[in-house]
Symmetry: C2
Subunit: 253 residues, 2 copies
């Protein structure tokens, strides 16, 4: 792509907007978000976009919005057609010389939905990824327990993995973060119980938001978990869980 051509097209930004608290946006994401004439974000087929809700107070009515409507109830990877169509809309804005900010909950490249846009447009347009605060760091902060320290090995596991794989990997790790627990909660919870690790696990939901829930896994009721929920396991973390149960994690909230 020649210099002249590049100058005429817009820049594609992948903006990490953090785990939920608008104050956990970075200064950089905040600046770029306010400067971009076009803002795109994943949105469920019903209800509000979580990514958009995080930054709603920073948006202006003069910004063009492109919701990328992905059915959230299915746990399968987003339909290719949805992202093909969104990529076309975003590309049209970039071709017209407008910068586009694509919002992503947490960090864009840590299980982030931005990758579906990036794999379609990253090679064709000037692209910058602005890293964000991930929910795993925010969960550890809220749970008041280091996620990893000294020479700990940390394993990050997607909840949809099957029991055998989860079990093998949990057994060999000092610390584990299980992402995207959602509808897999009963199965994962039973697995952790079979491994004798319930007393070393915490359940984290809506972290950094007003309604955040950080509780010992053993004191969790029979409720269902949202897609953005997480389980942290620390081998030998029983003492921490007792502190958490006694309210130690939220005394300064």
């Amino acid at each position: 792509m020649g210099m002249g051509e590049e100058a005429m097209t817009g820049t594609l930004y992948g903006l990490g907007v953090g785990p939920g608290d608008p104050e956990l946006l970075t200064l950089k994401a905040h600046r770029i978000l306010k400067a971009c004439p076009v803002v795109a974000y994943p949105a469920p087929d019903t209800g509000e976009s979580f990514a958009r809700s995080i930054v709603a107070e920073f948006l202006s009515p003069y910004q063009v919005e492109i919701p990328i409507v992905v059915p959230m109830r299915t746990e399968r990877f987003p339909a290719a057609e949805v992202y093909d169509k969104a990529a076309d809309e975003i590309a049209a804005q970039l071709d017209a010389g407008r910068d586009v900010a694509v919002l992503c909950e947490g960090d864009p490249f840590f299980y982030g939905s931005f990758m579906y846009v990036f794999e379609r447009l990253g090679g064709r347009y000037s692209t910058e990824i602005v890293p964000g605060v991930s929910s795993i760091m925010a969960s550890a902060a809220a749970a008041k327990r280091p996620l990893a320290a000294r020479n700990d090995v940390l394993t990050v596991l997607p909840g949809p993995l099957d029991d055998d794989e989860l079990q093998a990997r949990i057994m060999i790790s000092d610390a584990v973060a299980i992402m995207k627990v959602g509808r897999h909660l009963p199965r994962i919870r039973a697995l952790i119980a079979r491994l004798g690790l319930t007393g070393a696990a915490a359940y984290c939901e809506r972290v950094s938001l007003g309604e955040e829930k950080i509780v010992p896994l053993e004191s969790l009721g029979a409720e269902t978990a949202p897609y953005f929920s997480m389980i942290l396991i620390y081998r030998g973390g029983e003492e921490w869980i007792r502190t958490l149960a006694a309210g130690g994690a939220s005394d300064a909230a």
Copy 2:
């Protein structure tokens, strides 16, 4: 602790200040940092504190500073006495009713030095941890390759682990981030070569700073690595490494 007593003592903040670019501070860390009358941070025995340098432009001459001088050349865990003494200084400020912000590169609870303060004072004072952008997310953003996507398993490994442990864990992971590479670079590099994964690995240093270096491991010279350096390995990531080698990762920097 009674309500009256709590109101008289200051709050201890663990502030993640991100990987290096001051703009990667969160809005929250920025607000708290500016409001705290006392700021503490790890500092080497010679030279500047990296954590302090990240936020230097936001500090005021009216803030009291407490450098926690830790010998950085040794790879052993910080001497207990250094942190005991720092904790006493910080406690004296908290007892006097002043809030104290303890700065931490990256995220406070992700291999962060804040844990040494937290384990000494976290149980005694009102404490809040403000998560930060981690270098692993910032490295992936700069390298323009998702760190983890879909159902990838991500393993985070401290560089000081021995070869057998590193090898076993690298072999069973989709994506690996090796932290704190530092003086272990030659050994880890030789190990990755023996595993046939050099072509799938990137070396990352001073990420998000002006002098950032993100290069394929195979094109790295014989230089030494700073403590805050990282190697990312993606099994099957050879195509990405060719793009990185062709300058693909920094074209929009």
